[in-house]
Amino acid sequence: MRFVAKRQKEGVNVSDTHPLVEASTLIVGLAAIFAIIAVALIFVVELALYFVSAEDEANLFGDWLPDDLITVAPNDERLYQTQLLVDRLASHWPGAPYTFRVEIDDSEIANAMALPGGLIIVTQGLLNQVESENELAFVLGHELGHFRNRDHIRALGRGIVLSMFFAVVTGNDAAGIGIKAADITLRGFSRRQETRADEFGLGLVHSEYGHVDESWRLFERWNIDGSSFLDLVTYLSTHPETGDRIADMKRHAELERWPVDGEITDLSW
């Protein structure tokens, strides 16, 4: 046998695709798939909203609580007073299909949310930051606005989509970008919902107090106060930019001829 020297053949084992082409194909493709799934799910949620009435929802979720909720003591004065305030505001919404329940989450991040079955969760962080009953009333009215438009179901749909994506891509940084893209797509849909909830909340506040003074004072403080920078960012992730938001509310109050000055009610705790 004779040995013939030959150069290694190159190329069979390595694909010709340029790595950057491969990368951009995958990233763009996955982002597109995520966005399509997200939009499809929005459609499904709208269908569900059409077929499941608010009354059905209230019956189904009437005494439901999220498993991971850490609440304050049930005899907490703030809980009692906040529930009372919600009931007063809701009395200006005749025929509301929900029996509203308030729970206080022990998180220090200022937030409030509307959950299925008429459950309103406010965080301790929020209660620590509000300086008058009027400020708190607007936040609660805003959440009631979400129930009115049933945005809370849409928000739930969005949460499900995102956690589904997270489950699929755990730990992959680039796929994480896809999730963020989907999140932003969904957020675009929710901006309008926030504005409508603001307007409804403002109406409830006006019915209760006869004016809308201090409704947006909390947001003005967040705007100016640099120390709540972090809160602002977390808040921004689900709500419109505060600057626009305040301007929109002022415009709406002016349009409806609701007085923007009035007697301020102190917090009762």
């Binding site: 290694q8 990368a23 995958l26 493709g29 996955l30 891509v169 730990g171 680039a174 705007n223 920078f229």
Partner: protein, 167 residues
């Protein structure tokens, strides 16, 4: 001020991962190109050194001494390759970014083995085998690969007289 926060958010969410990915790609591909250049050059130098996979020696090899020789290499994945492979893992298909990595590992291991044999004065290697092993996990949750190890081994032989019985 709100505009700034939005921009910071946008940068943190999209700009930063992209930047890190590009930096990783830049370094990774530079190192890879350099490695391939070195491999080709050294392969050319070893062109007349027979490395074969027969498990028995060809009859006409008249051998004076022999020994086992090995060559091994451990190469780490770069961040870019790992991320892109992770995306590939979602939908399936050829993990194209890993292919050049394994190619480099195979050829480098064979080269090291051959260079070692030549340094020790051998003339050829037969019964060459390749083995690969999975190293430690890249992440604490047991997922991911830190790198790839390739081991080449074979029986190096010294001819009594070079290709004495050929033809």
């Amino acid at each position: 001020m709100e505009g700034n926060i939005e921009q910071i958010n946008l940068f943190l969410n999209f700009g930063l991962p992209f930047l890190i990915l590009m930096i990783a790609y830049f370094f990774g591909s530079y190192i890879e190109k350099r490695h391939f250049r070195s491999i080709r050059k050294r392969e050319a130098e070893l062109l007349d050194f027979p490395v074969v996979s027969f498990d028995t020696m060809p009859d006409d090899w008249n051998v004076s001494r022999s020994d086992m020789v090995t060559g091994s290499i451990v190469i780490s994945l770069d961040y870019f390759k790992r991320v892109i492979a992770g995306l590939r893992g979602l939908i399936g298909g050829r993990i194209k970014t890993y292919e050049p990595l394994l190619e480099r590992a195979r050829r480098e291991a064979l080269l090291r083995m051959s260079e070692e044999a030549r340094t020790q004065g051998y003339d050829a290697i037969f019964n060459v085998r390749l083995e690969t092993s999975r190293l430690a996990n890249a992440r604490r949750d047991g997922k991911g690969v830190a790198g790839v190890e390739m081991l080449a081994f074979g029986t190096a032989v010294k001819f009594a007289s070079r290709f004495a019985n050929s033809e």
